[in-house]
Each structure stands twice: as structure tokens, then as C-alpha cells.
């Protein structure tokens, strides 16, 4: 199961209500998997700086940990710190190489994880239903033009914050994915990436999708081409949504195992596991179609 959703406001300014649309869509799909929920939201572009969402730890010792992370982050120009639940959010100076920042921040503890970094991107996710996500983070108040979301039914790996989706293309700013399905050559791919020094944070097969795409984009592929290469190189079932700071899109596996429907009008693009999510969150007269096997679509904002 699992439910995935995506939304792009084609006409609105940065003040669009992407947060409340995604929440409405996720609520309609919560019955597909209430283990955990999360969103990757793309807000107003930060100029000259990046925004980070950092998971402080697994065991609720957030405030003490927040202090430690702050001291490290300040070395990278970190400021405007706010702590919500298990997360510390802050902005820091723009850099081409995120590695020292990530290594530094995650040095604060084994269970500290940089959940997202981007000029626009912010990922928040946690155990529980989409409505709990709203209670903790007030995502409906988040303004922007596009974003993706996920509600999870865990089948292969544990239920905790890190194993929840969306996944950040770790180390690649502004890249996020949500995935419904199973990647059956996950272990083989993981071994290949680990031999190249890539760190995996979870046992969740969906994580490899984000790592795969980040790798392709680093090699210079554009988003569409990177997503298309998933069809040949990833085995198993996947309906995937991918979002970057300037685009949103979907890709489906060869056999069309998993559902995915989308609607496009002059005003918006909405993609979801089931039509009930789109109809529940967006009113008006528009048509919805199920994506075909191997179909790739990308929309730029």
C-alpha cells in the first residue's frame, strides 16, 4: 500500500497553499498506511543561504542535543534556529560542498541526521498519521508552489522517523522523492553505492531511489533523463514522485504494478495514488488519468 501525493501550483506566486493541498490529499489516503507520514515542501527560495531540517535524535533528548547541533551549525553560518518536535530547523551559508556540513552536524550524535537541505526544500516526517503531522508541524500553513507527500504502510523495514518518507537525495540540495512499491535489486544497488563510500541511513529500499537519482543528477543528467534511467536500472515495483527546486514529476515501472493517477490543468498539476485524494483536496471540473507503465512526466514551475 502506501499513499503518495504531489502538487504543483502553476499560476500562483510563492504564497501558494501547497501545504494545505498536500495535507488534504494525504488525509484522504491515510487509510492506505498510517504508520508514518511526511512532506517535502518547496517554499520561497533562500538567497545566498540554505535551509536545513535536522533530526535531533531517537530518544526525546531534543533540547540538549539542539544546543550541541547549534554550536556546530553556527560554524557554517547557522542562524534562525527553531526546534519543533524532534527537528531543528535553521538556515546557513550557501556552499557547493555539503559534505563538511553534514559530517559536522551528524557528528553531534549517532542518531542525528540531516533530513533535508535546500534553497527551497524542507522535509518533515514522523511516525503516525497525516493529521498528527499537521498537529506537530502545522504543514497546512506552509506556503509555496510545489511539494510531495507520503503516508506509509511499512512492509520491509522498521517504523521510525528516519525510515519514513519523503527521502532527501542525501547530499544533493533540493532533491526529494516519495516511492510506493518495492525495489527488488535494492541490496545489489546498495552494495555498489556503499563500495563507492555512500552512506545509507536506513534499511528502507526507497532510500536507494533518492541516492540513485542524486547520483544521476551529479553526473549531469537532467531530471527527466535521470527518472527515465530508473526504468532500466531499478527492478521491482515503483510509482515514484520526484521533486527538485524547479520541477516535479513521476515515473512508473515496466509492469505498472502500483497505482498512480494525475490531473493537469492550466492552473495546477496534481498526482496521487488514488483519485480520491485529488477530488478530496481540489474542487472543480478536471479530468484524471492513470499513468501508464514506463511513463515519465516532468513539469517545471
Amino acid at each position: 500500500m502506501c499513499g503518495i501525493v504531489g502538487y504543483l501550483d502553476k499560476i500562483g506566486a510563492e504564497g501558494g497553499n501547497v501545504g494545505s493541498v498536500l495535507l488534504g490529499m494525504l488525509n484522504a489516503l491515510a487509510c492506505r498506511g498510517p504508520d508514518s507520514a511526511g512532506v517535502a515542501l518547496f517554499g520561497a527560495r533562500q538567497s545566498g543561504q540554505l535551509v536545513a531540517q535536522v533530526k535531533l535524535g531517537d530518544n526525546g533528548n531534543g533540547t540538549a542535543r539542539a544546543g550541541e547541533v547549534k554550536i556546530i551549525a553556527e560554524k557554517f553560518g547557522g542562524r534562525e534556529f527553531t526546534q519543533t518536535g524532534a527537528y531543528l530547523r535553521f538556515v546557513f551559508g550557501e556552499t557547493d560542498d555539503l559534505k563538511p556540513f553534514i559530517t559536522g552536524v551528524e557528528g553531534a550524535g549517532r542518531d542525528v541526521e540531516v533530513v533535508s537541505v535546500g534553497r527551497r526544500l524542507e522535509i518533515v516526517k514522523q511516525v503516525g498519521s497525516p493529521s498528527r503531522l499537521e498537529q506537530t508541524f502545522g504543514i497546512s500553513e506552509f506556503h509555496g508552489k510545489h511539494g510531495i507527500g507520503h503516508t506509509r504502510l511499512s512492509t520491509e523495514s522498521v517504523v521510525d522517523l528516519s525510515h519514513s518518507q519523503p527521502f532527501w537525495g542525501h547530499g544533493y540540495p533540493d532533491l526529494a522523492i516519495v516511492h510506493n512499491g518495492h525495489i527488488t535489486n535494492y541490496h545489489q544497488l546498495r552494495r555498489q553505492y556503499e563500495q563507492r563510500g555512500v552512506r545509507f541511513y536506513t534499511e528502507n529500499d526507497s532510500e536507494v531511489v533518492a541516492i540513485f537519482l542524486a547520483d544521476k543528477l551529479r553526473q549531469g543528467a537532467d531530471v527527466h533523463a535521470a527518472m527515465e534511467s530508473m526504468i532500466g536500472e531499478l527492478d521491482g515495483s515503483f510509482s515514484c514522485l520526484v521533486a527538485t527546486d524547479s520541477a516535479i514529476g513521476f515515473v512508473k515501472d515496466t509492469f505498472s504494478f502500483k497505482p498512480l493517477v494525475f490531473a493537469e490543468t492550466d492552473d495546477f498539476v496534481a498526482v496521487a495514488t488514488e483519485e480520491i485524494a485529488i477530488r478530496g483536496a481540489i474542487k472543480g471540473d478536471f479530468t484524471v488519468r492513470e499513468a501508464q507503465a514506463k511513463e515519465v512526466q516532468v513539469w517545471r514551475r
Binding site: 509492469f255 505498472s256 480520491i276 488519468r289 501508464q292 507503465a293
Partner: protein, 236 residues
């Protein structure tokens, strides 16, 4: 004429209301605000006419025997699955597994159908005005499958005696599927069927019946012959 407003009601309540209308001899029923919910109007064993003023979710019109269902939006997975008789018409597009395992009746889709259209159908008729996706007609046993537009990969794989007609391009044929010439009078019959079931503007926009490709089973998989071991290896 009865109207049922689906908004704010559970699927069970909506389906119970449809059945109550039929029990009260009111056989023309409109369901407002269906909202793409699952399992609407399933297992209706009556010749009632049910109109959904919007989209349906999964399995709409599944297991019906005799009902006529009109979906004025799109349909999710498994629309009309295993129906025995009746008509299901989708004004928009249909999700995967549309008309799977139907035994009779007619399914008409004005838009596109996704993957696995009409798999294992055991009778009846499926007409798609648009395109269809991957593996349509897989293991279909009887009946007629018509797609006016293009069909996806592995079309008509491992079929028995279903006859398929394709108006557009075939991405590729499945195992043991072959293109066959039409019999005398067959194109006329196909044309009659299309004209009977598709609204005139839709029918007019589609190829002439004689230009459809007929796809049937090559019958290589019907009986096991060890001299054909290679074909079996490929099929399995």
C-alpha cells in the same frame, strides 16, 4: 428517478441506498458527489440504470448482473470486474484491470484504459475509444476486446479464444498473439458495434472498421507439444 447524495456517507450506506431504491421499484438512480470512492454500485443484480455524477474509485460496477452503470468521470482500478451482464460506461479514463475477468455484458471507455485491460475475460465486450496500456487481454478466454487507439506492450499475451481489434499502433504483441485477416462481413459487424456503443463524434474520429487490425491467439500454447519446448520456455 431517485437521487442519492454520496457526500458525508459511508460506501456501505450509499450502496444500501441504491439497493433500497431498486427494492422500491425506482430503477433510475443518480449518485451525486461520488468523489472517486471505492466499491460503488457493486453486485447489483437488477437491470437498474445507475448514473454516477463524477468519478468512481476501485471496482465500480464489479460483479453486476444486468445493471447499466454510467460513470461521468474516470474510474479507478478494476471497473466492472467480473461482471456477468449489463453495461458499464466510463466517460473519462479507466485505471488498471478494467473489465478484468468479465463473463458477459459490455464495458465502454471513452478515454484511455491503463494496464491489464480485459485480462482473463471470459465473455462480453470491451470497447475503448482511446488507448490502452501494458498487457491488455492477457489470458483472455472469450469475448471481444476493441481498442480504437494505440495498445501497450505484450498485447493479447497467452490468449484463448478472445478476438481483439486494434485501431491504432500495437507497441508489441504478447506471446502467441498473431494478427489475422478479417473474415468476410467482419469489418461491417465491427463497424455496427462501434456505432452502436460509441457516441457519434467519438466514433467518427476513429479509424474505419476495415482498417482495424484483428489479433487472435496463434494457438501454439493451447496444447503442450514437447517439440515446441522453446516456445514454452519463452512463455513461462
Amino acid at each position: 428517478m431517485a437521487e442519492i447524495d454520496a457526500a458525508g456517507h459511508t460506501t456501505r450506506e450509499i450502496n444500501a441506498a441504491i439497493r433500497q431504491c431498486i427494492a422500491d421499484s425506482c430503477k433510475e438512480i443518480t449518485v451525486r458527489n461520488p468523489g472517486a470512492r471505492h466499491n460503488l454500485a457493486v453486485a447489483i443484480l437488477d437491470d437498474a440504470q445507475i448514473r454516477l455524477a463524477g468519478s468512481a474509485g476501485y471496482y465500480c460496477g464489479g460483479l453486476i448482473d444486468g445493471a447499466s452503470i454510467e460513470i461521468e468521470g474516470s474510474a479507478g482500478w478494476g471497473v466492472a470486474e467480473s461482471m456477468l451482464s449489463g453495461t458499464v460506461r466510463v466517460h473519462g479514463s479507466a485505471g488498471s484491470g478494467a473489465a478484468a475477468a468479465i463473463r458477459g455484458g459490455t464495458v465502454v471507455i471513452h478515454g484511455d484504459a491503463a494496464a491489464r485491460l480485459g485480462v482473463s475475460m471470459k465473455g462480453g465486450r470491451v470497447i475503448v475509444a482511446g488507448n490502452c496500456g501494458y498487457m491488455a487481454g492477457f489470458m483472455a478466454q472469450k469475448g471481444t476486446l476493441v481498442v480504437c487507439g494505440d495498445v501497450g506492450e505484450a498485447f493479447a499475451d497467452s490468449m484463448y479464444a478472445t478476438v481483439c481489434y486494434v485501431g491504432g499502433k500495437i507497441a508489441n504483441l504478447g506471446t502467441d498473439a498473431v494478427i489475422a485477416p478479417m473474415d468476410p462481413g467482419e469489418a461491417e459487424r465491427l463497424d455496427e458495434t462501434l456505432s452502436a456503443y460509441l457516441p457519434a463524434p467519438l466514433r467518427d474520429a476513429k479509424p474505419a472498421a476495415a482498417d482495424f487490425k484483428k489479433v487472435v491467439a496463434g494457438r501454439k500454447l493451447w496444447n503442450f507439444d514437447k517439440r515446441e519446448w522453446r516456445i514454452w520456455q519463452e512463455a513461462l
